[in-house]
């Protein structure tokens, strides 16, 4: 008689812990053959607010880590993903996504791991002002950033969107793919073992229409990045105006080649940075 396997209960990774939705709601996930696979948490606005709180709490500590340390932690995350490639490939196959996403996602993490202690030298500078002052511009993370992942490329797009944001010391509340949420559950398990402090990345699974309005208006989210359709973009930008939130959205109508390395790097890190300029007199 074959052994009965132990199935996993999918839980979202929030505040360094694995949670079910506070609402107790789930959505049944079926595999490509239409068979029941598992129940995925259907997170609510309250879950989102809790996640923002966790991200805000983790923020100052993460931003104060040295760039070298943040780089090593991102590298460690790549190690976790590489080592558990088969598991992630299986998670991707549940909803028919390509296993090829895994090595590219690993490579993307390595790419950003290397940027952690370099972007500042590319983006900040000393300014030659025409007065006796020492004047320099440095970057700072914005704070808590909302990430809206597209439906497609449930691992690669999610990683490509999150990595540049946390590289500079921001913390993230992300809404994973609505149609293929399972890889984000597994990614959460890898984040938990990657030395990334709890709360730096928080991954929620839910319906887009349920959470996007709260992403738009939550005043503690200082920026929103990701992929959205025209109606979602308008809703996010309208809500963002209330707290002058930064919005960097790709249009869902214009497909992105997530495999291409060309569109990922320094300027995606820059999207969630503030620039601070300090003046000091030069004198006795």
């Amino acid at each position: 008689m074959p052994r009965i396997t132990v199935t996993k209960t999918p839980k979202c990774y929030v505040g360094g812990a694995f949670i079910r939705s506070e609402s107790g709601r789930v959505k049944a996930l079926h595999d490509t053959k239409g068979e029941f696979f598992a129940n995925i948490p259907l997170c609510t606005r309250k879950d989102l607010r809790n996640a923002v709180e966790a991200a805000a709490k983790a923020g100052p500590g993460w931003a104060k880590r040295t760039a070298y340390n943040r780089g090593q932690i991102l590298y460690r995350l790549a190690e976790m993903l590489e080592a558990r490639s088969a598991e992630m490939a299986a998670a991707l196959s549940v909803s028919g996504s390509s296993a090829a996403e895994v090595p590219t996602a690993v490579d993307r993490l390595i790419h950003y791991a290397g940027w952690a202690d370099k972007y500042e030298q590319m983006l900040g500078n000393v300014n030659p002002v025409a007065s006796p002052h020492f004047n320099f511009t440095v970057t700072e993370p914005m704070g808590v950033v909302g990430v809206i992942a597209p439906s497609e490329s449930p691992l690669l797009a999610l990683v490509s969107l999150i990595a540049p944001v946390i590289t500079s010391g921001n913390t993230v509340v992300a809404l994973a793919s609505d149609t293929a949420p399972y890889p984000s559950i597994i990614l959460g398990e890898m984040l938990a073992t990657s030395d990334l402090p709890g709360g730096v990345v928080n991954l929620l699974t839910s319906e887009r229409k349920e959470l996007i309005p709260t992403f738009a208006t939550h005043a503690h989210l200082r920026a929103i990045v990701g992929v959205a359709d025209a109606a979602e973009r308008e809703a996010i930008r309208k809500g963002a105006a209330d707290s002058v939130k930064r919005v960097r959205l790709r249009a869902k109508e214009e497909p992105v080649d997530w495999y291409s390395a060309k569109l990922h790097g320094l300027y995606e890190i820059r999207d969630t940075l503030e620039f601070k300029t300090t003046w000091h007199p030069i004198g006795a």
Partner: protein
């Protein structure tokens, strides 16, 4: 804080001459070469507004009308955008960066040639002291053109590793506090990056913008590259909302910035917002107090306090609070308030009656909420919109005068005990444009500059600006930077 009742320590004795030797008037007499009527500048020509509507521009220093200014309506704005689009597609977008740069250099040089004329015009139109328009606004405007001109042929260095392209046509709306300088801040980087422009100056201060259009003609700038549409709120809305603009840049209040963001939410227009501020100017007990007092005075009374980054919340460490207040009270009595054209004037006229009323309303709220008012007893001219330099001591974080941007010569003074409390109070605002720190301790400066959530931090100085130095805010003070390398990227697409 009952400091008002304390007597001055004997060691601070000073000579008081009273009115014994009054300053003689020292008016700047250069001819501002004003026209009695200013038309719109569209497609390289001065054109009458289609509806024939004009608004008066008042000299706030004496309430005399200076000129009639054209009011652009939707049709005029459409014509301006059509000209900008044509110039973008036909000339400016195709021109080599080197050639584009030469035009911008010409503008810088021609403005320097006519600097005194522009300074007088700026002071008459806006009310700022001539020493500021002469020594700051106009030379700094020229410097912005000169700096950015040199970027025009170096676009490949703006975003190393990627290619940049101009947006095409840019729509811009600017405020009345630095009419010519804000115009330069907006135009110079946009032009250098290869964009063409439709810009609206503020309704009370359009004259120097339209005088600059004369320089564009002298510089032979191709028609349509810069189009200036004067007018009021509806003109500004038409400029921001026009479908031809692929990028808009706005400097003004946070309230209007949010309205623009909502109005453009359904479009893919790129935005830069330079909005309000309520900057903390923080004085520690080890600061050189006399220098700090000069910095505080400059921070709040520069340009009558009509400065988005004005140091309007003074945070003083408790142990030196009494001493700093005494010095400030004395210092405001010797500020010369009056005729903006007088070369000895420190504080000129409030830009408009409307703004004067808003300042006065907020000052009354400060008195009502229980803060202690200290005002200079100076004589004010009989005509014109003048406001006494004003200090409030005993202010708490909940007071309206500590939360809202006053945009006038009014300083709210609060105290703190520890570094952490200073940071907490400074950051406890929706704004995040600028901050000041005064201390002799280098490590504390660097700690404060790291902790303060503000786009510009002035340490042992205040209100310094430079074309090479990026300026712009955190939080509800807006996004995007103006000036420096960082400002350039807001005027091009990274592809």
């Amino acid at each position: 804080m009952p400091t008002a009742t304390k007597s001055r320590p004997k060691s601070n004795r000073e000579l008081i001459f009273g009115d014994l030797w009054e300053y003689d008037p020292a008016p700047e007499t250069a001819d501002p070469k004003l026209k009695s009527r200013y038309d719109l500048f569209i497609n390289g020509q001065f054109v009458k507004p289609k509806r024939g509507k004009y608004m008066p521009s008042i000299n706030p220093g004496n309430e005399v009308k200076l000129a009639d200014i054209a009011v652009a309506d939707q049709d005029d704005v459409n014509a301006a955008y059509a000209a900008a689009k044509k110039a973008s597609d036909g000339v400016w977008g195709k021109m080599s960066g080197l050639e584009r740069g030469k035009y911008i250099y010409r503008i810088a040089r021609l403005l320097q040639d006519r600097a005194r004329e522009f300074a007088v015009a700026e002071t008459m139109d806006g009310g700022k002291p001539i020493k500021e328009s002469r020594d700051f606004d106009v030379p700094m405007a020229a410097a912005h053109f000169f700096y950015h001109a040199g970027w025009a042929d170096k676009l490949e260095y703006v975003a190393p590793g990627r290619e940049v392209k101009p947006h095409g046509v840019v729509g811009q709306v600017i405020p009345w506090n630095f009419p010519l300088l804000m115009l330069a801040w907006k135009l110079a980087p946009a032009l250098a990056m290869g964009n063409t422009i439709v810009i609206k100056p503020a309704e009370t201060t359009s004259i120097t913008a339209l005088k600059l259009a004369e320089i564009f003609q002298e510089a032979d700038l191709p028609p349509g590259v810069v189009n200036i549409v004067s007018g009021e709120g509806p003109t500004g809305a038409a400029v921001m909302n026009h479908p031809t603009a692929s990028k808009v840049a706005f400097t003004g209040s946070t309230e209007v910035g949010k309205i623009i963001m909502r109005a453009l939410a359904g479009t893919e227009k790129k935005m830069t917002m330079e909005l309000g501020g309520k900057a903390a100017n923080i004085v520690f007990d080890d600061a050189p107090l006399d220098q700090a007092v000069e910095g505080i005075i400059n921070g709040i009374f520069f340009n009558q306090g009509h400065v988005c980054c004005a140091g309007s919340r003074l945070l003083v460490q408790e142990s030196v609070a009494d001493a700093v207040l005494e010095k400030l009270k004395r210092r405001i009595t010797v500020l010369r308030v009056g005729d903006p054209l007088d070369k000895n004037t420190d504080v000129g006229a409030i830009n408009s009656k409307e703004q004067w009323n808003r300042i006065d309303e907020l000052v009354k709220s400060g008195v009502k909420e229980g803060a202690d008012l200290h005002q200079s007893a100076c004589k004010l001219p009989p005509k014109g919109y003048y406001y006494r330099p004003t200090l409030f001591s005993g202010v708490s974080m909940s007071h309206q005068i500590a939360r809202e941007e006053i945009f006038g010569p009014v300083l709210s003074i609060l105290t703190f005990r520890t570094v952490d409390e200073a940071v907490e109070k400074a950051n406890n605002t929706a704004y995040g444009l600028s901050a000041g720190v005064w201390t002799d301790k280098g490590s504390r400066i660097l700690k404060m500059s790291t902790e303060l959530k503000a786009g510009v931090v002035w340490a042992n100085t205040y209100n310094k600006f430079d074309p090479t130095s990026p300026f712009g805010g955190y939080k509800e003070s807006g996004f995007g930077r103006e000036g420096g390398r960082q400002g350039l990227l807001d005027y091009c697409k990274v592809v």
